[in-house]
């Protein structure tokens, strides 16, 4: 299997992957070597203990062919939150589509470009940035991403700039994406004191095609900056989605994220936030909804390396049918990170007999003057709450839906941009109406 990827890599290097600056070629080669050395993870790896990736390891995925199926603007329209004027980069099967994107009006100090264009026009500009986020090295999928990275969104916001509207990166898989792998790489750099909202959407136009999305997003938050990052994963329910988000926060910065996982036969998100200096604030919210045979896996890690930092994390899951969810939340507090205040919560709702949850909230604390708590629950809806609603004339089915939605809404409501919040709320509501 690794040989298959080697061959694909050789073909890729001879083709489009051969272009670009030398540092990038080295990065790709190192990625391929690393991947060849370690291969795909197995359930013997603690990090993948409950998430078998054999479905990915079994089939060799291929890179998307050059001219991909043309999409009409109308097909992408429903995913734009009703705001066509928001700067949006659209990638079709991993390749930038200028026709579907919109980025004509950008405030001064803001650059929003596809990675392929940046590598072409300013080959050295990302040399010290791309691929330089610590824990990216070495895991199978990030290595594979490094080997095959080609396109993605590059957003940089200068110091002090406040974005008036969110930036949206859309990754669409077309109907003919069967057997294709895409390796988007996004780089977001936010200057000191800037204020930025951005959204990453991964979606599919049908629910049957089986492909692999293996995305990596690197975010750097400048000191005193405020960043909101929304990540919506609505891949085909036959696809595999592997995501890795790596966040570095400078002094006094605020980073908040909301991740929603709806799609994928197998989905995995690693979300790592690290503070590089003191007094940072990190807010991680997330929701995963699974049905049928889906498996949704979320691994978060918050590294408190400096004093006076705060982190707050709430992840919720709603599971039906024979689906499974895995949650692992790590909080590391170094000896010097005194006065850390960290709270982590993971709550899971099992709505069907066959659904399963593996959750592991993990704290590793080496400082004494800290406040760290975590909590995890697995259970079903409260019978008395059902009864209360029924006694007020609400039918049981509606009561159940209402209570389930209320459970999810607690995290969805943390999205600050109203149109996004409302659209995601509707999306969750619709999904609950279908599936449960």
């Amino acid at each position: 299997m690794i040989d298959e990827y080697r061959r694909t890599f050789a073909a890729f290097a001879a083709n489009g992957g051969g272009r670009g600056p030398e540092w990038l070629a080295t990065l790709r080669r190192n990625g391929m070597d690393r991947f060849a050395a370690i291969g795909f993870p197995t359930t013997h790896d603690e990090e993948w203990r409950f998430t078998p990736v054999s479905s990915i390891a079994r089939v060799p995925f291929t890179l998307a062919p050059q001219p991909t199926m043309e999409l009409s603007a109308a097909e992408v329209e429903p995913f734009r939150f009703g705001h066509d004027e928001w700067p949006t980069l659209v990638f079709v099967n991993g390749r930038y589509s200028a026709r579907l994107s919109y980025r004509s009006v950008l405030p001064p100090g803001v650059q929003l470009r596809p990675l392929s264009e940046v590598l072409e026009s300013e080959p050295t500009s990302l040399e010290g940035t791309l691929g330089h986020s610590g824990s990216l090295d070495g895991t199978s999928f990030t290595a594979l991403n490094a080997a095959f990275l080609q396109d993605g969104a590059v957003l940089s916001v200068a110091s002090g700039v406040e974005l008036p509207s969110p930036m949206h990166f859309v990754f669409v898989a077309t109907r003919d994406a069967q057997g294709v792998m895409v390796h988007p790489r996004n780089v977001v750099q936010v200057g000191d004191g800037a204020r930025v909202n951005f959204i990453e959407s991964y979606l599919s136009l049908d629910n049957e095609s089986s492909y692999l999305t293996n995305a990596v997003t690197e975010v750097r938050v400048g000191s005193g900056a405020w960043v909101e990052h929304v990540r919506v994963q609505r891949e085909s329910e036959a696809a595999s989605h592997i995501g890795w988000t790596e966040v570095h926060q400078a002094r006094d910065s605020h980073y908040r994220s909301f991740t929603l996982a709806l799609g994928g036969r197998l989905s995995r998100l690693n979300l790592h936030a690290r503070s590089n200096a003191s007094n940072t604030e990190t807010l991680l919210y997330g929701l995963y909804l699974t049905r049928n045979e889906q498996l949704a896996d979320t691994h978060t890690a918050i590294f408190h390396d400096h004093p006076n930092c705060r982190s707050w994390e709430v992840y919720k899951g709603i599971l039906t049918d024979r689906s499974r969810a895995v949650f692992n939340g790590k909080v590391f507090v170094k000896p010097e990170a005194q006065k850390t205040d960290a709270k982590q919560t993971n709550r899971n709702l099992l709505l069907s007999e066959g659904a399963k949850v593996n959750t592991k909230p993990q704290l590793e604390i080496f400082a004494d003057d800290v406040k760290c708590t975590h909590g995890a629950t697995v259970g079903r809806l409260d019978e008395t709450a059902h009864f209360y609603l029924q006694s007020r004339g609400i039918p049981r089915v509606a009561a159940r839906k209402l209570l389930t939605y209320a459970f999810a809404a607690e995290v969805v409501n943390e999205v600050t941009v109203a149109p996004v919040r409302e659209a995601l709320g509707r999306l969750v509501w619709a999904r609950l109406a279908e599936g449960t």
Binding site: E46, F50, P335, E336, Q338, N348, L350, L351, S352, E353, G354, A355, K356, V357, N358, T359, K360, P361, Q362, L363, E364, I365, F366, A367, D368, D369, V370, K371, C372, T373, H374, G375, A376, T377, V378, G379, R380
Partner: protein, 477 residues
């Protein structure tokens, strides 16, 4: 750090003395011959020897586990003496016949072996190195049909019970250390409570490692027949030595329908010196199986050992069965503890409660590792876990690794964990009221552990509180 505090830090491990007593040991090292020798020395029936050999052959193919969050020098299994016994041991008519030197040792340790002086109303089985040296109250218990004796005696006198239950909860192939124990275990306690009987007094075992270079591999098996109940206490100490000594015990509890077993441990093995030299490597497998409506409760206070690797677990096999785990683990100096529990819910409406309190001081590292597993058939299963850590100083660490695996939608599992420190304001408050700093801390720590201590039998609770005081003395400057 003030000087009285300093002197307290350097206070010696009180139980670190060595008893000068002649003992008889087998040659060091491990092979089938040694196992045959141990078995022969103990005059065991054939099935026992075959069982040991099977375990040994299984063990040869196993690897020492390295997943716990602990580090220690590699263990050379050929350098260990697997059997050591005080020479004077022979079948005893009464405890008065026990070697006076041994009696003296146990008196030093504060263990009442002398029946006349025994006021506490606790029956004691004392294990010295590899063998049991005496069991008190045996006769009185025997009249009720309760079997409380050393494991060797049980193998000889009640082979049918041993054969039926040995390895039924912890199979010989369960893990590396359990397999090793199954091959070479020397002695331990055996308890059988007949149907419907409530054991009238607490039963207790006291373990003492004395010989150098020996490993202690005891095996305890407690069977509570239908509707029976028993409370069992375990205590342990070892001399101070500058080499690591291995302690790999196995404890199996079987609670048949409607039975109750309460197992309390105060573990105070030698922890090594302040630089982490010496100390006991405590690798213990403890597990209970609760059948219908049965209850198993583990309470442990872990203050000793250089390394603790121990997960007292309950297999909640029967419907409506109950499992409990209350733990206080203290690490100071360079101690490392990786401890917690496993609650495996199989029966319908099975319930479990986990309360774990970890205290880290000095350069100690304390990990809570737990598993709550609800299998698909365990409808209505319920678990509540609370796991709190307290850190004293910033050179120590607290870690939590709770695994929650739920496969039934009607189950309800809750896990909570927190980390805190002793607040300066709390100490100030106590000092205002006339307590000195040491006493204030001791009081705050005891308050932190109260939920666990209240589960301990009275005499143990007092001992545990004192022990905790000693373990933490001087850790706050």
């Amino acid at each position: 750090m003030s000087s009285p505090v300093e002197s307290l830090v350097n206070r010696e491990y009180k139980w670190g003395f060595v008893t000068d007593i002649e003992s008889e040991s087998v040659p060091k090292g491990l092979n089938e011959e040694i196992i045959r020798l141990i078995s022969a020395k103990k005059e065991e029936p054939e099935f026992m020897l075959q069982w040991r050999l099977k375990a040994y052959r299984g063990w040869l193919g196993m690897k020492e586990p390295h997943w716990p969050n602990v580090s220690y020098p590699p263990i050379d299994y050929q350098e260990i003496i697997y059997y050591s016994a005080p020479k004077t041991v022979m079948p005893l008519g009464s405890l008065d016949e026990v070697d006076p030197k041994l009696r003296e040792t146990y008196e030093k340790l504060g263990i009442p072996l002398n029946e006349q002086k025994l006021l506490a109303g606790v029956a004691v089985d004392a294990i010295f190195d590899s063998v049991s040296v005496g069991t008190s109250y045996k006769k009185a218990l025997g009249e009720l049909g309760i079997i409380f004796c050393s494991f060797s005696e049980a193998v000889r006198e009640h082979p049918e019970l041993v054969e039926r239950y040995l390895g039924s909860v912890v199979p010989m192939s369960d893990n590396f250390f359990a397999a090793l124990n199954s091959a070479v275990f020397s002695d331990g306690s055996f308890v059988y409570i007949p149907k419907g009987l409530r054991c009238p007094m607490d039963l207790s075992t006291y373990f003492r490692i004395n010989q150098a270079n020996t490993g202690q591999f005891e095996r305890t098996l407690i069977v509570a027949d239908e509707g029976a109940s028993v409370s069992y206490l375990e205590g342990c100490t070892a001399p101070r030595r500058d080499t690591n000594q291995l302690h790999a015990a196995v404890v199996e509890l079987v609670a048949l329908d409607n039975a109750k077993i309460k197992y309390s441990t105060v573990q105070n093995w030698y922890a090594g010196d302040e630089n982490g030299v010496g100390g006991i490597l405590n690798f213990v497998t403890k597990r209970g199986k609760a059948l219908q409506n049965a209850k198993i409760s583990w309470t442990q206070v872990e203050t000793g050992s250089a390394i603790t690797w121990k997960y007292p677990s309950v297999i909640l096999q029967g419907d409506d069965s109950v499992g409990e785990f209350y733990s206080v683990a203290v690490v100071n100096g360079r101690q490392q503890a990786d401890t917690g529990t496993k609650m495996i819910h199989i029966g319908r409406n099975s319930r479990s409660t986990i309360v774990s309190k970890g205290i880290s001081a000095g350069r100690g590292n304390n990990s809570y590792r737990g598993l709550v597993k609800v299998l698909p058939k365990a409808a209505g299963a319920r678990n509540y876990t609370q796991c709190d850590s307290m850190l004293i100083g910033n050179r120590c660490g607290a870690h939590t690794f709770p695994y929650i695996d739920v496969q039934n939608a009607t189950a309800s599992v809750e896990h909570e964990a927190s980390t805190s420190k002793i607040g300066e304001d709390q100490i100030l408050y106590c000092k205002q009221r006339g307590l000195n700093t040491e006493n204030a801390i001791s009081m705050i720590v005891n308050g932190f552990c109260k939920e666990v201590f209240k589960e301990l039998p009275m005499e143990f609770a007092v001992e545990a509180q004192k022990l905790l005081g000693v373990s933490l003395e001087g850790s706050v400057g």
